[in-house]
Amino acid sequence: MNRRISNNIATSVFILCAVVMIATLVYLLGYILTNGFAEIDWSFLSSNSSSFQEGGGIKNQLWNSFYILMMTMLFSVPLGVLGGIYLAEYSKPGKITNVIRTSVEVLSSLPSIVVGMFGLLVFVQYMGLGYSIIAGALALTVFNLPVIVRVTEDSIRSIPLKQKNASLALGITHWHTVKTVLVPAAFPGILTGVILSAGRVFGEAAALLFTAGLSTPNLNFTNWNPFESTSPLNPFRSAETLSVHIWKVNSQGIMPDVLEIANGSAAVLIIFVLIFNLSARIIGGVIFAKISGKK
């Protein structure tokens, strides 16, 4: 076989793979969105779900998803970013670092249903949090932390060593260099990673089944006192998120419009994940341009 033919074959194989990949994605998105789009209207987004009648909405589920997402990020971002900085800049090669890095890797490959079981045993039962937003957020933190640690470490390590040397050679302390040179340069990467992981957290169901629960109490959206049981902000109430709702409606729903609700919810979920991903790119780019100055 001559070189030109093998070159052409290689090129075609790569193009074919790309086409298969894109076609799958487009088909999937198209299927979910076309099926679901018709179901989405204001009343679907703003009314309570019903257990057996037609016409239920997803107001509480949508709210719960965002609330759990926010709380998860509140726990996992500071911890994960600081952990990533530690691994990239402060840890010395050795046994302890290896243990930490292996733990992070094992954590990131844990199946989410296992994280859910862990959450049930530790957060729900042992710590006595019950099926609650906070237990769900803690379980999702376990699930999300390794991603943030990894993204932060990789972003910081990808900054050329010469940047760090430049700052140290100017008589600037390690900590100030981390703060003013490394983290700002790594920021777009960290932010992109955080937002992408937010998409994953937003769509996660299995880890929440046994931690945040399958039901939501009646919420009173005029009561914003987080200590009252009907308040949407109460972190100790159980909370069914959008993706858990999809699973529950599909597997045990008895209302006549099960399919419509599932389709609509799936479309809403996908749209938000898409928004997260697009904004990750846009915001990352804008911030990078801002830090680095005009071209």
């Binding site: 010469k162 430049a166 008589g171 600037i172 700002p184």
Partner: protein, 265 residues
């Protein structure tokens, strides 16, 4: 040693003995001895060049002076580098104030990917320089680095929009803004085109009126053009140190002569 002790006796040191005195310095990376028992002075307000083939230890020696080798876990030292009556290799030395006083410019231009002005103010802000003074320091440093006229109208542009030569002069300006006593230049022109290199060379000659400069270079012509003293190193050893004019025209050591005439490199 306290930060304020550095440079206190600078003037006396200049007139009596060399500004810096390297005594029996050996530098190790693990078991490997990269610099072997080197002793030499670095004279104040002069340019001292370090030449020698790749891997001869000249960059290692330079990076030992401002303790940048501390970054490498396996690096350790023997011997002394005396400067203002203190040993720079002393464990108690505050490397942060040492590096403020002994500035360094690297082989590859490494401006921060930030606006030009931020590159200069980065360290000034860390040292809490008064806002009213910053503008003047920035302007002086950029003028000293012969960059002011080229960038004065776009101080807020990204430093990465500058050419390689401009970036390197920015790095020199960045070091000068801290008013160091000594400048260590680690092959500062090897990544630059000939015209930019010439500008940096002119700049070095200009700067030696106010600063003590140690420069590592691959380029022997460059060492001959700009330096007052030259050190030839080979395999971690100092083979010959002397006045540049003497070392280039009438080397004492055979290996120096062989290297200068291109018998090996």
């Amino acid at each position: 040693m306290q930060a304020s002790d550095l440079g206190k006796e600078k003037k006396e040191a200049n007139s009596v003995s060399p500004l810096m005195d390297i005594k029996n310095l050996s530098v190790f990376y693990g078991d490997k001895e990269a610099v072997k028992n080197v002793s030499m002075p670095i004279e104040g307000n002069k340019v001292t060049a370090f030449i020698g083939p790749s891997g001869c230890g000249k960059s290692t020696l330079l990076r030992t002076i401002n303790r940048m080798n501390d970054q490498i876990d396996s690096a350790h030292y023997k011997g002394e580098i005396m400067y203002d009556g203190v040993n720079l290799l002393d464990k108690k030395i505050d490397v942060v104030s040492l590096r403020k006083e002994i500035g360094m410019v690297f082989q590859e231009p490494n401006p921060f990917p930030k606006p030009i002005i931020t590159n200069l103010t980065h360290a000034l802000k860390f040292y809490r320089t008064k806002k009213s003074e910053i503008q003047g320091i920035v302007e002086t440093a950029l003028k000293q680095a012969a960059l002011w006229d080229e960038v004065k109208n776009r101080l807020n542009s990204s430093a990465q929009s500058l050419s390689g030569g401009q970036q390197q002069r920015l790095c020199i300006a960045r070091a000068l803004a801290l008013k160091p006593q000594v400048l260590l230049l680690d092959e500062p022109t090897s990544a630059l085109d000939p015209i930019s290199s010439a500008k940096v060379e002119d700049l070095i000659i200009e700067l030696k009126q106010h600063y003590t400069i140690a420069i590592v270079t691959h380029n022997m012509e460059q060492a001959a053009r700009i330096s007052d003293y030259t050190t030839f190193m080979y395999n971690g050893e100092l083979i010959e140190y002397g006045e540049t004019s003497q070392l280039f025209t009438n080397p004492k050591e055979q290996r120096t002569e062989e290297y200068l005439t291109g018998k090996f490199s």
